[in-house]
């Protein structure tokens, strides 16, 4: 356990050092983030013109969802994107062999090797929006609700990670998974808006099949103190399920890799 912890620290400090080599990237990411955020708040404001509401969500409540989305996007950019899009290169260049021969879990290595520090401002800004908007809605932000909020964020992140890792792991068969990742990202964009704003069929899909709702809507409901216990339990079950599936799939994929690669 201590070994894993020390490894993470070294992974990330080297990641930090190698990103310093490209300072410009940091600035670009920052600009892109600000552009994306102001763009989506602008689009959101179009829904609320003429005093309308969006799926029973008030403007401030909908802003909480934007905040959660920004936070998740920040985590994605910091951890998921840099690591999981690399897996295909490990396979293509054959350096996966080195990873497999390290006395450390290969899924751990592949999922956590890199950390993009450009994601941090986005994470902070996302949380700021969440709490700022929560206060603006006038609700009483209790410690309990905040705790539930972080639990539901964790649930959402585990689900997202597992689905993404599943796609990335399939690069052992398909050399390019870039497109599948694009589909995932396009669908995730649906999480910018409250799940109740969608037609019923999509609501079902986004809750059970591709649990977008767990990424943004449910954490936002948690802040507002509206999240039902059933949903938390369902979330815990789903995230465990997805994580176990991703784990089993990786073991299966490695079995294929070691019996078919040359």
């Amino acid at each position: 356990m201590k070994r894993y912890f020390k490894t993470i620290m070294l992974f990330w400090s080297t990641a930090f050092a190698s990103q310093l080599e490209y300072q410009l990237n940091f600035l670009i990411e920052l600009l892109a983030m600000l552009g994306t955020l102001s763009g989506s708040i602008f689009i959101l404001s179009l829904f609320f013109s003429d005093g309308r509401q969006l799926g029973d969500w008030s403007w401030e409540a909908a802003l909480i969802i934007q905040g959660v989305y920004t936070f998740m996007d920040g985590l994605t950019n910091a951890l998921l994107r840099p690591n999981l899009t690399e897996i295909v290169n490990y396979v293509r260049e054959g350096t996966l062999d080195y990873v497999l021969l390290k006395p450390i879990d290969s899924q751990f290595w592949l999922s956590i090797k890199k950390f993009s520090f450009a994601g941090i401002p986005e994470i902070i800004l996302g949380l700021t929006i969440v709490f700022w908007s929560a206060i603006r809605t006038g609700i009483n932000l209790s410690v309990f609700n905040t705790l539930i909020f972080f639990v539901s964020l964790f649930i959402g992140f585990v689900i997202l990670y597992s689905v993404w890792f599943l796609i990335a792991a399939s690069s052992i068969w398909f050399v390019k998974t870039w497109n599948a990742t694009e589909v995932l990202r396009a669908l995730l964009a649906a999480g910018r808006y409250p799940i109740t704003a969608y037609p019923v069929i999509l609501r079902l899909i986004f809750t059970l099949l591709l649990p977008v709702a767990f990424l943004t809507t449910f954490p936002a409901e948690a802040v507002l103190g509206e999240l039902k216990l059933v949903i938390i339990i369902l979330g815990l079950a789903l995230s465990t399920f997805f994580f176990v599936v991703s784990r089993l799939f990786w073991i299966y994929a490695l079995k294929h890799y070691t019996s078919a690669s040359s």
Partner: protein, 332 residues
């Protein structure tokens, strides 16, 4: 790994069969491929057995696609065998247990593991953490190995700014940091210039002497094999056809030696026929192939029968011999 004083690696009737899908070209081929996938078996390694003892340096020889790399990867646990058994120091490699992984290392000449944008030193400390080495031990080992490899400030320069030779030496350092007792090297000198090749070679032989580590390597450069490996294992079309020392391989491949003679004046070809097989005849220069058993006798006769200016006896170059052998596809 020392509990078995006898063989360190036991390979017993090892086979690897790949299933390859057979696909006809074109759209129709794609369709029938999709619905009715026909596969056939390609044996990459067939029924190979050998033992390797602690401290040995063994070279694996074979043409491209002969099965060398597959064999090597089965021994380090990256490929599951289809049949047969591999045992490395009491472990089944394919299970890749931590204790096993800490005892081995793999270096592939054409694939690198160092972080491209950073100095090798950073990658070294990452590796140290992965293998659970303490900071002091890491520092001490880096110093030792850097000395042996003649690496200095290169370790603090970004990898992308290093020459190929410096990069390979750093790769070796990274691969040996945890003091593995078995080294698997797949083409470790690929693409290096002659000097860098020589340095890698002398390092490996020194490392072997100092630590008693077992080294298994494949190489395209015969010079590597000649300099490093007292024992070679030749693989041809997936099967083992020679396992023994290098010199007797040369003998068994070619029981003859080359005799080059420079003469005072030119002679006719017929005059040499009784001495040996004429390889080359060019004005005053002649090259004959003479079997080892008759060598002294024939050389003496040449010296007395002709006016000789210079005479040279040599083995036919081994890489030429092996190259010819692989070309012919003949196994004696």
């Amino acid at each position: 790994m020392q509990d078995n004083p006898r063989e360190l690696i036991r390979v017993d009737q090892l086979s690897k069969i790949y299933r390859v899908a057979d696909k006809q070209p074109g759209f129709k081929g794609t369709l029938s491929h999709f619905f009715n996938r026909r596969t056939y078996k390609v044996p990459a390694v067939k029924d190979v057995s050998f033992n390797i003892f602690p401290g040995e340096i063994v070279g694996f020889l074979g043409a491209n696609g002969a099965g060398k790399t597959t064999l090597l990867k089965m021994m380090c646990g990256l490929i599951h065998p289809s049949k047969g058994l591999v045992n490395v120091g009491g472990f089944l490699p394919q299970r890749r247990q931590t204790a096993f992984l800490k005892e081995i290392t793999l270096v592939m000449g054409q694939k690198q593991q160092l972080i491209w944008d950073l100095p090798p030193m950073d990658s070294l400390y990452v590796n140290a953490a992965v293998y659970g080495l303490s900071d002091e031990i890491t520092k001490k080992r880096i110093n030792e190995l850097a000395d042996m490899l003649e690496l200095g400030e290169e370790l603090t320069r970004p990898v992308r700014k290093l020459s190929l030779g410096q990069r390979m030496k750093s790769e070796l350092l990274a691969a040996l940091l945890h003091h593995p007792s078995v080294l698997f090297l797949d083409e470790p000198t690929l693409g290096l210039d002659v000097n860098a090749q020589a340095r890698v070679r002398s390092f490996l032989s020194e490392y072997n002497k100092q630590t008693g580590a077992t080294i298994l390597l494949t190489s395209h450069y015969m010079a590597d094999i000649i300099a490093l490996c007292p024992r070679v294992i030749c693989i041809h079309n997936g099967s083992l056809f020679y396992d023994g020392d290098l010199d007797s391989l040369a003998n068994s491949l070619s029981p003859s030696r080359e005799v080059r003679v420079e003469l005072k004046k030119a002679y006719f070809p017929e005059q040499f026929v009784s001495y040996g097989e004429i390889q080359e005849l060019n004005d005053r220069f002649v090259c004959l192939l003479v079997s080892r058993s008759k060598l002294t006798e024939v050389v003496g006769k040449i010296l007395s029968d002709f006016e000789v200016i210079d005479l040279e006896i040599s083995d036919p170059p081994i890489d030429k011999l092996i190259g010819e052998l692989f070309l012919k596809g003949e196994i004696s």
